[in-house]
Symmetry: C2
Subunit: 623 residues, 2 copies
């Protein structure tokens, strides 16, 4: 293969290949390597721009750029404790990365996070010759948090400027976006209280704060999660997403006048902005307009806000839009569709889905229990909650069966979806095969049901969610075939908090519980997620005390197994360890297991072991 | 009360009082405070000499002296990582403290330990607002160890010299003692291999190494545990203790000629040198001469080595000798004596014990099971091992009972003694009341049976001890009333190692095990204790591998509960945590519990919780 440099922009049928050596652009027709760029060993957080072919990456805590002509530039040179080019604010506010190329890839916005003032949580690695400390910067609710600034690096000049945002103490800088002309940057800024968001415009050349474009306040919290996205056919207008009318909807922001106009309406949520159909001037989205259990593709007219369903009307869809915006790859599942992949036109007037793939039912050879979904009334007496019920295999209505509730219950998650078997896990199926009734209820607080449904949990995590889960218990009782003396509960993370809380609060209802990676005391949880829902421990002492499960340690009557990852960086081991201490002091007897070296969830073979462990526990104690 | 200084030495009927303010000497007759000395808050390791009335103590890692006239002198001024005036070598070799006043209290010998080169074990305190690191210097077998030197401080001159012992790397400096004239110091020095001990004499004024007084070598290990003690009536002759003839015996060392003469003989062990009867020129000791299960008081004639029993011939004695050597307070227990206290003359020819106290049987109102002691043959076919058997309450020989073996099995400990109920724990009694047969066997390796009995474990910890414990299993089988399908085992520390090892090695014999604070891998244990019995991992890789219970994690069949103190500084959490990892990887399912903040043993209320926990486990799984 000949190595030959060719002129960009791309003209040929080129293929980009990424190997562990680097990136290679290959000219298919002429069988030529037209361009290559090496990557450093240990490089992380790679962000490659296809227009400029500049590559941003991090080595340890600093940011580097390799330009399209192979020159490597160290963008930042910060000491340990200051992290550049990586995700900040613990991945809240929709933040998933720390570098943001301008549209043409000529300028690089990046995060710089000063964590030197944040307390270390002492994680311990026991797999070394002698156990070693692996300190983790972890800002706990009410404690000193990190400080974030936004830099802009210009590879052509080698210079960096920082946005002149003022003192970054107790502020969140989220959802960075560029204007199409690359001259301006928008940042959605939030106060530590998370009840006041501002869209702020900065000059990208100087970093000067030019304008407060828009403000949003809420008594409870505002949670911006989506950067502005400019309409490809109108470089003055961008799409903003907000839940200010109670549901996540699209708004059009005129950046010349700062006018904000709501585009979509209704008691449903926009879930994802997929992209744009420029020829039709439509926005492609995923939304719950059809059903809160579904995610469907819609084209939204920017003139009217009218929505048009694309593709199959049921199920839960994930889509990829091709670069010209004309076609979608629509990958979807539903309770009756294992996995289909269709190609769709993004023009809703020319609906002719072409099926590329239709999976066989992977459960077809299994003895499957009956799985049903329905609604029951929440504890408020008004709201419909979705439940998912699995009856034991070979169900006999005259028998009494033990039941296990699988619970999550917190924000940003929904257990019941129009997916294969309504999103049930293999474990639920197994337990139903073994003679257990399995129930899950998506209580108030969970996702895709609107803001009011979610923010009822504000400053009182666990309270309303538990009431709703107890409605699930009532439902089980009314079924008539559940042995109410053999009721179990299981959940992970927020679901571990719910599991432990329900077991201790309703200690005459539940006999056996397995709580994984539970939050025990929200003051041990991080600033960003925790304070959004609970404010700080100083602001909300009663709320924190009421949600502190250590206070209820003495109420344990049945069997409670606490299971954690030994190095959980999300819900740090202090939660469960301090809970054990409280139980010991109170004279109660929980069980405990730890997966050394694991994080917030068990993966791979450890997950197999985990579910053997969980199953053994229920079979031993719920029989 | 008038404050008036009086002249020392003491003349009146004075009383020394120690309050949290300091020390006070009070003249009873004249109702006067004759002397006082304040103590610093946070002072630790206090060592007060009654002759000079100088006080040595430590603040943090440094050594201080407050003189009898109230002057405070900082003796050492070392940075963190260098510890002065405290016990060294992790309390092995009989070392319990770090300061050693000369007989008159004019000079102070002290340990200085440089730990800067020792790796920190990262202990974590989860009881703080956010968990905090509490690093612990922990030299693991085969790794770099600390370096110890011995200083001598002169309060009169304020000067300190150090013994010129040469490079302290990989050496142990043990059993510091002064000559009566305070001009010389003896140190028993040991190489890291612990197979070569030297008694070395230093000049106390200059620190110059004057003489190698005596050497002792052994193929396996030498373990000096007792400082030289000079005969009060002969300031050239001191008592040395050695197991070189196979049992711990007294030797007389002529320090003028370096001649060493064995004084006591026999297949029994000197356990403690109590003191001296100067008028009779006799040495008072505790020994096992009567029985390996007993500790009796004997007077030893220094001329002949003849021994004369003092006081009650049975039981286990602890004694205090009055300062003039004429009388003993003899506190003793036996299988039939709950607790007696007698006053004895130290003159064996004038035996008229006066009983001061005789405790009532504290178990008199309890339903007591039958407890018996006997011997069985060790796995070598020759050695007698003592066992202790407890039959269930209301024993019926026609029934079959579950049985639990309580095991320790390691050196320096003996479970079966001629104490109340033969030293059994309240838990054994409780379990016997609940219908369990309880057995303990002091296998080879355990204490008070001589060197060969103990050092059979050398380089192969667990191997011979397990064979002997399996003889205990044979014994249970032969009893005829034990249900051999319901066999449990329980032990702590070395006994936790034995418990885990037996459970994994003989996985078809034991059904349930509770292992507390177990050693899992001797390479995670400390240098001093671990290398004595195992050499280093580099020297004895096969021995370490064979004793590494992680290698056997896949053999777990029954129920094994591992219980640890969350901050165990002796058997660090890495042992059990890494074992869990091995079990997870091997697909086996141990149970686990941790007592946060606790060390190598649970104390106080935590111990109550622990034994509830242990009892629940056996009752749940051994039934």
């Amino acid at each position: 293969m000949n190595f030959q440099q060719v002129t960009f922009p791309y003209t040929g049928p080129y293929l980009l290949v990424r190997t562990n050596q680097g990136r290679f652009i290959i000219d298919f027709d002429n069988k030529q390597l037209v361009w290559s760029q090496s990557v450093k060993e240990n490089a992380a957080n790679e962000d490659w721009n296809k227009h400029s072919r500049h590559l941003a990456y991090t080595l340890s805590n600093n940011l580097f750029v390799t330009t399209n002509d192979g020159k490597t530039i160290q963008v930042t040179n910060e000491p340990e404790g200051i992290v550049c080019g990586q995700s900040v604010h613990r991945n809240e506010f929709g933040i998933e990365k720390g570098t943001f190329w301008s549209p043409s890839g000529k300028l690089l916005a990046f995060y710089r996070m000063d964590e030197t003032m944040v307390t270390d949580y002492p994680q311990v690695n026991t797999a070394t010759r002698i156990a070693t400390l692996e300190p983790q910067k972890y800002p706990m609710a009410g404690m000193t948090s990190h400080k974030v600034t936004v830099g802009i690096f210009n590879p052509a000049s080698g210079t960096t400027i920082y946005l002149q945002a003022g003192d970054p103490t107790d502020r969140y800088f989220t959802n960075i976006s560029w204007t199409p002309d690359e001259k301006k940057i928008f940042v959605i800024e939030l106060n530590r209280d998370q009840n006041h968001a501002e869209i702020v415009r900065y000059d990208a050349a100087t970093g000067i704060r030019e304008d407060l474009v828009y403000e949003e306040r809420h008594d409870k919290y505002v949670e911006p999660q989506h950067p502005l996205e400019f309409l490809p056919w109108d470089n003055k207008t961008c799409v903003y997403q907000s839940r200010k009318d109670g549901y996540n909807h699209l708004y059009l922001l005129n950046t010349a006048t700062n006018e904000m106009k709501q585009l979509t309406h209704g008691e449903w949520e926009v879930q994802e902005l997929i992209g744009f159909n420029s020829s039709a001037k439509e926005i492609l989205i995923l939304s719950t307009e059809t059903s809160p259990l579904q995610s469907n593709v819609f084209a939204v007219e920017t003139k009217t806000g009218a929505t048009h369903l694309l593709g199959y009307e049921g199920g839960t869809h994930q889509v990829n839009l091709c670069s010209n915006g004309k076609y979608l790859i629509d990958s979807y599942v539903s309770h009756s569709i294992p996995h289909n992949i269709d190609v769709l036109s993004s023009n809703h007037k020319r609906q002719k889905p072409v099926n590329l793939f239709a999976a066989e039912n992977p459960y077809k050879d299994y003895a499957m229990p009956e799985i049903s979904v329905g609604t029951l009334k929440a504890a408020d007496g008004m709201t419909d909650l979705y439940y998912r019920l699995v009856k034991p295999l070979n169900f006999n209505p005259n028998k009494k069966y033990p039941a296990i509730i699988y619970v999550y219950g917190g924000p940003h998650a929904q257990m019941i979806k129009d997916r294969m078997n309504y999103g049930i896990s293999g474990w639920d199926i197994y337990m139903a095969q073994e003679g257990y009734v399995m129930l899950t209820v998506d209580s108030r607080g969970s996702a895709n049901r609107g803001l009011a449904f979610e923010n009822v949990i504000f400053r009182q995590l666990g309270v309303e969610e538990m009431k709703d889960q107890m409605k699930g218990v009532d439902f089980l009782r009314e079924l008539g075939f559940v042995d109410m003396n053999r009721l179990g509960i299981h959940g992970w993370s927020y679901g571990g908090f719910m599991t432990t809380n329900l077991m201790l609060t309703h200690n005459d209802v539940f006999k056996v519980a397995v709580a994984g990676g539970p939050v025990i005391d929200w003051s041990y949880y991080e600033v960003m997620y925790g304070e959004r829902y609970m404010d700080t421990p100083q602001q909300n002492p009663d709320g924190y005390k009421n949600a502190d499960l250590k206070q209820k340690a003495g109420r344990l009557k049945g069997r409670l197994d606490i299971v954690i990852g030994g190095n959980d960086p999300t819900c740090v081991p202090q939660h469960s360890i301090s809970f054990l201490r409280s139980c010991i002091d109170a004279g109660t007897h929980p069980d405990f297991f730890v997966y050394p070296g694991d994080g917030h969830n068990m993966r791979g073979l450890d997950r197999v072991h985990l579910y053997e462990h969980v199953t053994r526990y229920f079979m031993e104690h719920l029989n």
